[in-house]
Symmetry: D2
Amino acid sequence: MIKVGIVGGTGYTGVELMRLLARHGGVKLQAITSRKEAGMPVAEMYPSLRGHVDIAFSTPTDAKLDECDVVFFATPNGIAMQEATTLLEAGVKVIDLAADFRIKDVAEWEKWYGMSHASPGLVAEAVYGLPEVNRDKIRTARLIANPGCYPTAVQLGFLPLIEAGVVDASSLIADSKSGVSGAGRKAEVHTLLCEAGDNFKAYGVGGHRHLPEIKQGLAAAAQAPVGLTFVPHLTPMIRGIHATLYAKLTKDVDVQALFEQRYANERFVDVMPAGSTPETRSVRGGNTCRIAVHRPQGGDTVVVLSVIDNLVKGAAGQAVQNMNLLFGLPEGQGLDIVPLLP
Amino acid sequence: MIKVGIVGGTGYTGVELMRLLARHGGVKLQAITSRKEAGMPVAEMYPSLRGHVDIAFSTPTDAKLDECDVVFFATPNGIAMQEATTLLEAGVKVIDLAADFRIKDVAEWEKWYGMSHASPGLVAEAVYGLPEVNRDKIRTARLIANPGCYPTAVQLGFLPLIEAGVVDASSLIADSKSGVSGAGRKAEVHTLLCEAGDNFKAYGVGGHRHLPEIKQGLAAAAQAPVGLTFVPHLTPMIRGIHATLYAKLTKDVDVQALFEQRYANERFVDVMPAGSTPETRSVRGGNTCRIAVHRPQGGDTVVVLSVIDNLVKGAAGQAVQNMNLLFGLPEGQGLDIVPLLP
Amino acid sequence: MIKVGIVGGTGYTGVELMRLLARHGGVKLQAITSRKEAGMPVAEMYPSLRGHVDIAFSTPTDAKLDECDVVFFATPNGIAMQEATTLLEAGVKVIDLAADFRIKDVAEWEKWYGMSHASPGLVAEAVYGLPEVNRDKIRTARLIANPGCYPTAVQLGFLPLIEAGVVDASSLIADSKSGVSGAGRKAEVHTLLCEAGDNFKAYGVGGHRHLPEIKQGLAAAAQAPVGLTFVPHLTPMIRGIHATLYAKLTKDVDVQALFEQRYANERFVDVMPAGSTPETRSVRGGNTCRIAVHRPQGGDTVVVLSVIDNLVKGAAGQAVQNMNLLFGLPEGQGLDIVPLLP
Amino acid sequence: MIKVGIVGGTGYTGVELMRLLARHGGVKLQAITSRKEAGMPVAEMYPSLRGHVDIAFSTPTDAKLDECDVVFFATPNGIAMQEATTLLEAGVKVIDLAADFRIKDVAEWEKWYGMSHASPGLVAEAVYGLPEVNRDKIRTARLIANPGCYPTAVQLGFLPLIEAGVVDASSLIADSKSGVSGAGRKAEVHTLLCEAGDNFKAYGVGGHRHLPEIKQGLAAAAQAPVGLTFVPHLTPMIRGIHATLYAKLTKDVDVQALFEQRYANERFVDVMPAGSTPETRSVRGGNTCRIAVHRPQGGDTVVVLSVIDNLVKGAAGQAVQNMNLLFGLPEGQGLDIVPLLP
């Protein structure tokens, strides 16, 4: 059994990791830390875990994370970059669900995240944990930068077009909608039910932290810089991201076939039949990204619809997928979940 | 007092018309028809109207609509085109909240709506009831084609850019999100709470009936055909449309000033301060269209955010605004409503 | 025009007061205070008020509340009791939407609210602002204790039975469900959309602050102490309270007639036809309490269903109703609102 | 592998059965019937099943249900009673998720369900499938009447009190709240998102079909008739039932200990610590009934809070639990699910 530790488990990615690990079958959850809640049984905060997870939150000291095989950071940005080195030196593999190691250009990262990077040396080493792009590198990595939720949905939607070089990569548009759980479990006014419920709005139009992450990934696929307008929106639901992507075709290709071929061997990317419109609930609780591709009125604008559960394929599920790769387990172990519908 | 009749008042635009007319002050609601519910007090179906509307649904015969000054059609598509002629000949003004008279090209209309037009002769006469464009024509009209909900939000958002000729009108994108009330009160599986709740999806990507209506309006403003990709989405809320509009600037203009000038005298269009992101709830129950305009990262893609309440400015409120214009009343009479927030 | 001030207007009762006062016609909103947001235009925080309220939040000093005719306290508990004396001495009438003056037994109040009362002398003077019970006293009062939301729905539902002495008042049950706005606009984890959405739970089963308030009112009607089990629940909606009330009949009376007679002249209490089940949305945004009364299977258990909008009849609307009474205006001025449905 | 058939799989209990059976490990889904959708792949109607269930709906004829080991009826009331005999005679075990075999008094059943019973002879044989009461009988049964959703939550909440004879069983109250999925996937106006969303109401106050079912179960436990007032409510969420139960204690017992002892060996009933308030989301997707018991202010009214997922412990999950018992499998096989939170 792989010995697992979680740092900062009181948020939604933490409880989601526990949901998945509790049924994984190949891991033992050794410790989950929370300075603030140390001593409280995990199942007291999250009654859904009663009968499934019987440990309590512990202090970082008590947690003995250096005795784990792998540690997940389900923390705010800026924590993993301070603590990863010690763990790595102790031979522990590290998967960061926050953004500390996602952006290769450290100066760019510091601009968007508003802090100095504590471990710029690790940034180069870290592998960006999108298995559909970096599977082989992930297998041999020590340190995984688990992708953001929007970046997962948007990149998986654009990649077949960009890799095949069939769209104008200088004017991509990603109109993206997220459920409220993407904002985490912090007490904030704008995510109260009475503020976010029965309401729809855009935010971060001038610039969102996931923009450089997406552009980095698409530029790597294009082997050239890309131009992207990225507008995120808050939609009154709990889980789910729906990315609606627009690009101009520069070649008249069969886009349906292009997507089907690109993802033919990808267990967690489901290219739906032509004409489909994927719903976010069709992936609720599951690790799948469902994609449909359209050419409205047969024109040269291609529209890609890409949905994920932001807490699963957009966070904890992809982290478990990466863990499976790191330890040579079947990639889908613990992730063979039927989404909850309705 | 203006004598008002409503045809087909059991749906959401019907109850919304009654909500507005009950407090208008210058009208008397004479009759509201429903073949199916004739005899049932309106307030029995809609308890929110108890104490405010005391008439019952009547049969078309009993309603004596030809004795009204104005008749609103809050009916499915295809009804007003059959009944308008008789009323117009009796000197009654007609406001159709359905789509029968919106598209000037009758063949185009027949293609999208899947039926033969019963009164093609009236199509030419009908005035498209978007007061911000056609105010003077509306004042002297007999027959108003009240705009669709998406077309209202999308046209008001694009018009300043198109009229000024500062964007490439051949590649416009309108990513639009609607609350579920836009689908009406018909019993259908896909709008059940358990289907549409906690869920987000696109629909009609291949072609939606509002596409030709929007293109017609924008082409008139551009004085040339336009290219538009229009993707509607269903969002799990009751009221509200949020249109996110994308266009390429062809001139480096001050877009904020452009919008403020265009709508300086428009009481029901609110151009928000630069940097704003309008929320749908900020117009819930009110007749205002709120707009914000952005140029992300200072680039040449302009992003317009346009929100309305689909049942008010997108339907019944705009219909009342048109009625006010038709009868020389103050344009905002009965529409001076503070939106309900939260 | 009555000069009005509001203390603490950043919460939901504050914005709701402004919504109602903006269309009242007989008042002028002089000032609204917020230490934290002083200087910010009200409409910047609440865009729904753009075009309707054009003042900014002010400091308590700048507000010159002593020059108002009436001041509403839309503050947390414990503020009005400190500031009311000064205003009353300056001849200003005071309406407290918090709980400071609701409980006549000061020791009891201090037990439930966990603080010492700063103005016990005013408690005796304050009139409990439930117009359906205390209308005449309200007309001549200086200081109004505006009822709580649950107490309004529960008392209006039980009063006809208690006043008529037809039920066993020693074993009343009030199973009450509230929308989330009852918890206010404070940033707290348990009212986040992701915590309260798609979820239902009881809370405060061991004892809720509204229990002594309800018991005080019912005991006055019964002229004897009452026994009440009060269980509040949080339901995933924004506005609305639904109280389901259970009592044992001790006399075989026509409960429908009893309710109709009791509220025959009450404009804001609507006794629905026998067999009805009032919906919370039927009062959304309006000041009405809708009630239906049942005797399931004709037995001796009477079930009363009582719904209000917690922010209107349960807070700001009732406060305006009280203001109208205080100043000799028509009781319903500014409150003739058709609820928003859907 | 147990060969399983499902009759009528297009509704929510059908898709939920498939979700559970797909991961069960001990069954093979042979056929799922739908006259209307015969030929359509199941995963086309329910994209959440893509990759998990690869069969299509079949006609009853093609389904060869008589070759199955067990057949679930996920049909409207009145179907299983017509088709069960043939299957039973072919040696197939039958689990009816509808109400056909739940009420032992056939005349009573016919009164509440408004039809003649087609197989009154089977009613006596059928075992009521509440394992916490009838486990041994279920193991040897041929025909299971799977309990209703409200009856499951209400009976599990009352049973410890009734069995111990510590409450007045003549005046029980069950104030029950259900998510909208309890109404099924039929297209009906009152369960549209725009009707049931952001709204709360009671229904069936005069009499609901689950009343006789609950009374039958409680009377068996009490070994005497019981008096029950049962008021169901519709709450704006998808899944979940919250029953708030009230009873008068006739003996001063330790109710917490009573509940803990009664359910000490029940894997799917979780008695929470004293003072808890179970949330419906804490069982979302799982087969657990969570219960908390209170005595407000230490009085003699006991309040029980009982929550289930109506589609799992209230329908499909309990049906699988019964299947496991019928075939000698571990009772929890396929049901060891961590609820989805948030």
